[in-house]
């Protein structure tokens, strides 16, 4: 390991931003994949993996990907909830890996709700 300069130190801190928000548990964006038994059965694991790789690929450092239990609407699983600070949460239903990649790109990175995949805007909070 070469010795650090002031710039290296600052860069190391920036590069670790994801680690920081993850452990602090505070971020601008939070996407929750609902992983009840029915969700997992309907493919929530694949949805989760797709979200994780897309968040990584798009370098969304301010986004936390998390999971929670059954959202209660088993017939429309897999489901996900996107919460952006200052906006009402949005619930998406009947997801697939392809659909969720679109959500990450358009809603989280782009800021536009993907209307045709959304079940509702402004549902109950997940945290």
């Amino acid at each position: 390991m070469p010795k650090l300069s002031i710039e290296d130190l600052k860069k190391m801190r920036e590069d670790a931003a994801r680690k920081r928000i993850l452990r602090d548990g505070e971020s601008r964006v939070r996407i929750t994949i609902h992983m009840g038994t029915c969700g997992i059965m309907s493919g929530a694991r694949d949805v989760l993996k797709a979200v994780l790789s897309e968040v990584e690929a798009s370098d969304l450092k301010d986004t936390i990907v998390t999971t929670s239990g059954c959202a209660g609407l088993c017939s429309r699983e897999p489901m996900a909830t996107v919460e952006i600070a200052g906006h009402a949460p949005v619930k998406y239903v009947d997801l697939t890996a392809e659909k969720v990649v679109r959500i990450v790109k358009e809603h989280i990175a782009g800021g536009t709700v993907v209307q045709e995949l959304a079940l509702a805007v402004g549902s109950e909070m997940t945290r």
């Binding site: 390991m1 070469p2 010795k3 650090l4 300069s5 002031i6 130190l9 600052k10 190391m12 801190r13 670790a16 931003a17 994801r18 680690k19 920081r20 928000i21 993850l22 452990r23 602090d24 548990g25 505070e26 971020s27 939070r30 929750t32 994949i33 609902h34 992983m35 009840g36 038994t37 997992i40 989760l48 994780l52 790789s53 968040v55 990584e56 936390i64 990907v65 998390t66 999971t67 929670s68 239990g69 945290r127």
Partner: protein
């Protein structure tokens, strides 16, 4: 792929003794079996502070806190939480007074009243990874200091912040640094006191184990301010994990160019070595500590000449405590205005005018939530003991809280609304010390407790000055007489007189403060002490010479458990019939009372 979950496992000495490292291995294995190793990171952290419920596992970003996690809980925990995304209910924290399990860390009373400065990275970083420290703004304050500030500005910032020494004395840190800067000499030393000898205090252990770089960064800033290029960390040998973590941290900091020559390319040199203590309480005293680093017996000297002028090897030396150093980077980073907005009093004119910032306390004894907490100066004893520490266990009533270890005193119920800061504690006859607080329930005897501390002091007195060496022995003898019911009023008068003499005449802080436990016991609990003298009775039932054990025949079910556990076989009785204790063979070890499930053993 970046992980989505961070599983933080406490590897502090408390949790590790409850096998937290085995739990960590089991978690890693289970996570791998389920194919989650890309998504879930497992991090070993320093002490989380809530030792009472360890091993502790904290999951972020979900803010879920698990307690008493064993290896056998791991498969369910991984399946429920990491796979299915819902908290594993069986291991969530349950409040001691009953109620629903609380999943969120920030909803747990123990955590929510705390304000973290010195413990800012508590449980959030891997103490053996410098990258983790840097990720949470580590060494940014040092970078600013080295590039944008002059030493005088650093000293001014620390002085204005109102930071006072966390090791007990409460000396203003900025004032000390200014004297060390002014002192003449080419070679100056920056020393870190990690000797933490106060029984009942473990915040410095926790910081050294959990966030060693915060101490090194603080030392480095101090070195720049006073003009030093060599530092020593003096750590008690009783803290092997702390020694190891500090050594690892020093290695990493050297590797990254944050210690050694030309730090961060800014042309400043500073390096640090570790010295292990060897089991002498007096080495927490500044001049004794310096003697010990030199390789000599740790005997203090009179301080006509201050150590900032002539300390280690007679050179100017700036000694601060672990927690003090851990505060320093935060002050430089967030500004003195922020730090001085927390706490009591006004330090704008006089650095002694108040107690600023936060203080870490270790809270132990008869409370539900034992552990480590950090609260703003000025928080009342009541808030600490009853709100944060969750009050006393069922069936126990509050009697006293002991602060400051052997240098401090016992504070009674009437002082529970006392705001805790350096000066209020001294006025009450106690001391901040390094921040140990031990809560005593109604069944603890003040004579016995005072005897405990004086026994400690008499044993640890280095023997150099007479008042401390002889005085502590005399105090111990008087207390022994009282606890055996052999004392007269004259003995109590003598005890009080000698206590004042030891306080006034001793050479160093150890002797000067040693009588505090005795003096506060007499000041606040005189009736109880006098019951030993006049009535030959120990109201709390602790002084062995004044109590007898017997069995309440009405409550005894004849289960024979006490007889089986009695080391002297002095309990007689048939199965399913009431038992009895043969008093003259009883050694009052208390085993029968501990094992009895029916509360049938009576102490009188």
């Amino acid at each position: 792929m970046e992980p989505r979950l961070s599983v933080l496992i406490c590897s502090g000495t408390g949790c590790a003794s409850n096998k937290s490292m085995e739990v960590m291995d089991a978690l890693r294995k289970e996570i791998a079996t389920r194919g989650l190793e890309q998504e879930v990171e497992v991090v070993q952290t320093g002490c989380q502070g809530f030792c009472a419920v360890g091993p502790i596992v904290y999951v972020q970003p979900d803010d879920v806190f698990y307690q008493q996690v064993g290896v056998k809980d791991v498969p369910r925990l991984v399946e429920e939480h990491f796979l299915k995304g819902r908290p594993y209910k069986d291991k969530l924290y349950v409040p001691p007074m009953g109620g629903m399990p609380i999943p969120k860390l920030m909803d747990i009373p123990f955590f929510k009243s705390q304000v973290l400065v010195a413990l800012r990275n508590k449980g959030l970083i891997d103490p053996e990874k410098i990258e983790d420290y840097i990720a949470r703004d580590g060494y940014q304050a040092l970078a600013r200091v080295l590039t944008e500030m002059k030493p005088e500005q650093v000293i001014e910032c620390v002085t204005k912040s109102g930071l006072r020494g966390r090791g007990g004395g409460g000396f203003p840190t900025g004032v000390k640094w200014a004297s060390a800067r002014k002192a003449s000499g080419d070679i100056k030393y920056v020393l870190c006191n990690g000797d933490e000898g106060d029984p009942g205090a473990f915040m410095d252990r926790s910081i050294m184990e959990g966030d060693p770089h915060s101490v090194l960064e603080g030392m480095c800033i101090a070195a720049f301010a006073v003009g030093s290029s060599q530092g020593y960390v003096y750590v008690r040998k009783e803290y092997p994990l702390a020694v190891q973590r500090i050594e690892v941290a020093i290695e990493q900091a050297r590797e990254f160019g944050l210690l050694g020559k030309d730090i961060l390319g800014a042309g400043f040199d500073f390096d640090v070595e570790v010295r292990r203590g060897a089991g002498a309480f007096v080495c927490g005293e500044s001049t004794a500590l310096m003697a010990s680093i030199e390789g000599n017996p740790g005997e203090p000297r009179a301080k006509y000449i201050h150590t900032v002028d002539a300390g280690l090897w007679n050179r100017p030396s700036c000694l601060n405590n672990v927690e003090t150093f851990a505060n320093v980077p935060m002050i430089l980073q967030r500004g003195w205005e922020w730090f001085s907005s927390i706490g009591t009093g006004d330090v704008s004119q006089d650095p002694w005018g108040g107690s600023k910032g936060t203080k870490v306390f270790s809270i132990a004894g008869d409370v539900n939530n034992t552990g480590l907490i950090e609260v703003p100066m000025g928080t009342t004893l009541r808030e600490i003991v009853f709100d944060i520490a969750g009050g006393l266990p069922e069936g126990k009533r509050f009697k006293a809280v002991q602060t400051g270890g052997p240098s401090g005193g016992f504070l009674p119920e009437s002082l529970l609304n006392l705001p805790v800061d350096f000066d209020r504690l001294v006025e009450a006859g106690s001391m901040m010390g390094s921040g140990g607080m031990v809560v005593l329930g109604h069944d603890k005897c003040m004579v016995d407790s005072a005897k405990f501390f004086i026994d400690f002091t008499a044993d640890e007195s280095c023997g150099k000055c007479t008042p401390c060496r002889i005085g502590s022995k005399i105090m111990l003898q008087s207390l022994e007489k009282i606890s055996e019911g052999k004392a007269t009023e004259e003995d109590v008068e003598q005890l009080e007189r000698v206590a004042h003499e030891v306080a006034n005449l001793s050479l160093c802080g150890l002797g000067k403060s040693a009588p505090n436990p005795v003096l506060t016991a007499l000041r606040y609990f005189r009736d109880e002490v006098m019951a030993h003298v006049h009535e030959k009775r120990c109201p709390a039932g602790e002084c062995k010479a004044l109590i007898t054990y017997s069995i309440d025949a009405g409550k005894c079910t004849g289960c024979t458990l006490c007889a089986k556990n009695c080391p002297t076989d002095c309990i007689t009785g048939e199965r399913k019939a009431a038992h009895a204790i043969v008093t003259d063979r009883c050694i009052k070890c208390g085993s029968c009372k501990i094992v009895c499930n029916f509360d049938a053993v009576v102490v009188q």
